[in-house]
């Protein structure tokens, strides 16, 4: 076990209701299984639904870290929503940051009410490309279905991306421990979809 950087900083971001917290819990539990110190800081609260949410996940071989990542110090960003990925990169990104993003937008109410504009997704992706080292776009809805468990699917993409020294099996094992037994199978399917999406890409 080695980390390319210690601590290795991951931010998972999305919109309240997308399941950020579960995603961070899965990847963090998987990390602990690999003998790492893992710290997860959540930014949620009044933003139960519809607000921007972020989970800061920090992996270390040496010590428990603070639950917050400093400005510009994200090594990996997983965006469950494109604009939120860009929002996080603007504050926490650096030229070496790697991004995995679901390009499916969720529109804020200011956009719905006409007081703000949602940028074209391609423009968001271009800006991400310009700012960071690598952008993996995970197109979760190409088969036309309503995507189940985007949060877990994106964890599958992260697990298969090779960006973390944590095998996919540890993700699966963590899910079996965390999830209610009735939810395990559906979520494992979502995880595998994410794995396949990255391998295909």
């Amino acid at each position: 076990m080695a980390l390319e950087k210690d601590p290795l900083n991951l931010i998972i971001t999305g919109v309240g209701g997308q399941g950020n917290v579960l995603a961070s819990q899965i990847v963090a539990s998987a990390g602990i299984k690999e003998g790492l110190y893992v710290t997860v800081g959540e930014t949620y609260g009044a933003s139960q639904r519809g607000g921007p949410v972020m989970s800061h996940v920090r992996f270390s071989l040496q010590a428990q870290c603070s639950p917050l990542i400093s400005e510009g110090q994200a090594d990996i960003v997983v965006g469950l929503e494109p604009v939120e990925a860009l929002r996080v990169v603007a504050e926490f990104g650096n030229p070496k940051t790697r991004v995995i993003v679901n390009p499916r937008p969720i529109y804020p109410i200011w956009v719905l009410s006409g007081q703000a504009k949602y940028p074209p997704v391609e423009e968001v992706l271009e800006k991400l490309e310009e700012l960071v080292d690598r952008v993996e776009v995970v197109r979760v809805t190409e088969d036309g279905e309503t995507p189940p468990a985007v949060n877990v699917l994106m964890m599958g993409a992260l697990a298969a991306s090779g960006l973390l020294p944590i095998p996919i099996e540890s993700f699966e094992e963590a899910m079996r421990e965390i999830l209610a037994p009735k939810d395990v199978e559906l979520n494992l399917q979502a995880l595998r979809k994410g794995v396949a999406a990255i391998r295909k890409g």
């Binding site: 919109v15 309240g16 209701g17 961070s24 819990q25 963090a28 539990s29 602990i32 110190y37 893992v38 710290t39 997860v40 800081g41 959540e42 949620y44 609260g45 009044a46 933003s47 139960q48 639904r49 519809g50 607000g51 921007p52 428990q64 870290c65 603070s66 639950p67 917050l68 400093s70 400005e71 510009g72 110090q73 604009v83 939120e84 860009l86 929002r87 990169v89 603007a90 990104g93 650096n94 030229p95 499916r104 969720i106 529109y107 804020p108 109410i109 200011w110 956009v111 719905l112 009410s113 006409g114 703000a116 504009k117 940028p119 968001v124 800006k127 310009e130 700012l131 309503t146 421990e177």
Partner: protein, 633 residues
């Protein structure tokens, strides 16, 4: 499986700070837990309730924090170990009892967890509850890590028993709601038996009790002097020492490392912060000439340390103290390693940055102009959106410039665009009704605006009943609207006396809100806010009456409802939706503002976002063209 239950001593697991506190209580053999939910504390009682049957302990959701503390104290006075947990506002609620139970003393370990919310991320105020420990003369512990959250909680029961006082644990959001490694300890077998003996009367010879309380606190100080939760790291003869507690430990350590100051700056980390372990602190500050105090919210430690330094003027050399008072740290809000590093850098004349300035500028210029703001809103399917729309419409029809006094819950969002900016006051639990009862008596001063007090179902039981009784007793003109969604939704849908089930999910007697209102003697109606037209009409009618009245808008939280029901498909009939020609000003998306309804810019018509829509169908009743279809609805 709940991590708090795992019986594998030595195993390392991922735990939320609150789970670690709950696990510490389990490892202390806790018998009794009582609480009212409040962010960021709710997972402590939730975790204990989830394993209550397994371990044979008792857990309840109490009607409010005062009752919770009183109930937990009863267990303590009967020789049991009890824990009570609350957010900072709850400490205010129970403070009356706290300021007397300190005098009467306790018996079985009573641990009092105050989870503060720096920066008020999920609160109407930020407040440093440590001041209550000093105010009430109670021993105070501040865990810094997830491991400590568990180990310290276990120890807190022993401290409480040894000094005969409630022992306070102060957590903060960044500990309570963060997750990290916790190595599990053993779960003891407990022989539980409760028996009340003796006399616990506060105020009998209160000055003597107060003096005895001070002596108990001195015993706590002695115990704290040797505590394993106080430690020093860094060079032995450091001239510059950071003194910190709680969340400040992680931030201080990372700030020192980021600036490469490990060889020069020491960190004195305190886990026991009231009363201060004075000899321990003095021992570690003998060589110091400068200290920086790092803590979250108030300069509590900073002030207490300064008092200690003043007392020790003759034994210590002069020490410059940096912190909130010198402006190096804020003294309000939350902190992080960057704020500590900047403080340290500015004192030491160093530079600190975390990324290239040019890159930061480019990232901002590229990203910020195109990022739409995203504010929290009511969930799709939330009954509050419809209720606040009905209130807005009824007040407009009434035309007398009526307004809404707000309260604490999901519906607090009604102060913003989610609730059409309807809430005009917002303070603490129950304040909406109390304020309304005052506004409703201003007629003799020419006040002629109707007043609507909104209040959630859980808030009703917690703190609004006295305000309603006051309005009835004093014949105040108040229309109270209870937004009854069946549970304490904002904190994760914990049950309350009207829910019909208890903390363990077992059936419980129901206290009906309308029956309470009837017993108070006020007019009461119950309506479904999704029958919007009826709701508006009835609300308008009630606005025309005098005296205290109650409208209950009852519909279950859709987050809960949708778990039990098959989602209905909602879609826009593109033949019937005539877009901007309708004259409705895009009512469904732009005005009603449900995030499940979006605007199809290509077709220039409304469209349902199937990923977001929960299928509640209330929009179908509101669309003037009848263009929204609920399949099977």
């Amino acid at each position: 499986m709940s991590t708090v239950k795992i019986d594998q001593p030595g195993k390392s697991v991922l735990m939320m700070g609150n789970e670690a506190i709950a696990r510490g209580a389990i490892e202390a053999g806790v018998d009794f837990c009582a609480a009212y939910p409040g962010t960021p504390s709710s997972e402590i009682p939730e975790s204990l309730a989830s394993v209550a049957e397994h371990f044979g302990l008792y857990a309840e959701w109490s009607t409010n924090e005062m009752v919770a503390l009183e109930a937990a104290a009863a267990a303590s006075l009967s020789g049991l170990r009890a824990i009570v947990a609350m957010k900072q506002n709850g400490v205010n609620v129970c403070s009356d009892f706290l300021m007397t139970v300190n005098l009467s003393g306790t018996k079985g370990g009573l641990v009092f967890v105050a989870a503060d919310d720096p920066s008020a991320i999920s609160s109407s105020s930020e407040q440093d509850s440590r001041n209550f420990a000093r105010f009430a003369d109670l021993p105070l512990l501040e865990p810094a890590t997830f491991q400590e959250a568990k180990d310290m909680t276990k120890w807190a029961f022993e401290v409480s028993e040894r000094v005969g006082l409630p022992c306070m644990i102060r957590s903060v959001t960044r500990l309570s709601h963060s997750r990290g490694n916790v190595k599990l300890g053993e779960i003891p077998e407990r022989d539980r038996s409760a028996r009340f003996e003796g006399v616990y009367i506060a105020g009998a010879f209160a000055p003597a009790q107060h003096s005895a309380l001070h002596q108990k606190l001195e015993r706590a100080r002695e115990e704290f002097e040797g505590s394993e939760f106080n430690w020093y790291v860094g060079p032995e003869e450091a001239k510059f020492v950071i003194v910190t507690s709680g969340s400040g430990w992680f931030y201080s350590r990372e700030a020192v490392a980021a600036l490469g100051l490990d060889a020069e700056v020491g960190i004195l980390k305190l886990g026991t912060t009231w009363p201060l372990p004075e000899r321990f602190i003095i021992d570690h500050l003998k060589q110091a000439t400068e200290i920086l105090v790092v803590e979250e919210i108030d300069p509590f430690l900073e002030q207490n340390i300064k008092v200690l330094l003043a007392e020790q003027m003759k034994t210590l050399r002069p020490i410059d103290v940096y912190g909130a008072r010198t402006g190096h740290l804020p003294g309000f809000g939350d902190i992080n390693q960057d704020k500590v590093a900047k403080a340290l850098a500015s004192i030491r004349g160093l530079e600190y940055w975390t990324r290239d300035e040019g890159y930061a500028k480019r990232a901002s210029e590229l990203a910020l102009p195109c990022l739409p703001p995203r504010m929290p809103t009511f969930c799709p399917g939330c009954p509050h959106r419809a209720s606040l729309w009905a209130i807005k419409a009824a007040l407009k029809l009434d035309g007398r410039n009526g307004f809404v006094t707000g309260d604490i819950g999901c519906y607090s969002l009604g102060a913003g665009p989610a609730g059409f900016f309807q809430l005009k006051t917002l303070h603490c639990m129950g304040a909406g009704t109390g304020l309304a009862s005052g506004f409703g008596k201003l007629g003799q001063f020419g006040f002629d605006q109707p007043v609507v007090a909104v209040c959630g179902d859980s808030t009703f039981f917690h703190a609004a009943i006295p305000g309603l009784i006051n309005a009835r007793f004093n014949n105040s003109n108040v229309l109270m609207v209870v937004l009854d969604n069946g549970g304490t939704a904002m904190t994760g849908f914990q049950p309350h006396p009207g829910s019909g089930y208890d903390a363990l999910g077992r059936p419980a007697p129901v206290v009906e809100i309308e029956e309470v209102c009837k017993a108070i003697g006020v007019e009461v109606k119950v309506r479904d806010p999704f029958e919007v037209d009826q709701a508006i009409e009835d609300l308008y009618d009630m606005l025309q009456d005098d005296g205290a009245r109650v409208m209950i808008f009852r519909r279950r939280c859709y987050l809960v409802e949708s778990k039990e029901k098959v989602r209905k498909r909602v879609f826009v009939d593109s033949e019937k939706c005539i877009g901007d020609d309708c004259g409705c000003a895009r009512f469904c998306s732009r005005v009603f503002n449900c995030p499940g309804i979006i605007w199809d810019a290509g077709a220039k018509k409304a469209m349902i976002d199937e990923v977001v829509c929960t299928g509640c169908g209330v929009c179908a009743t509101l669309c003037p063209s009848g263009a929204i279809v609920v399949e099977g609805g």
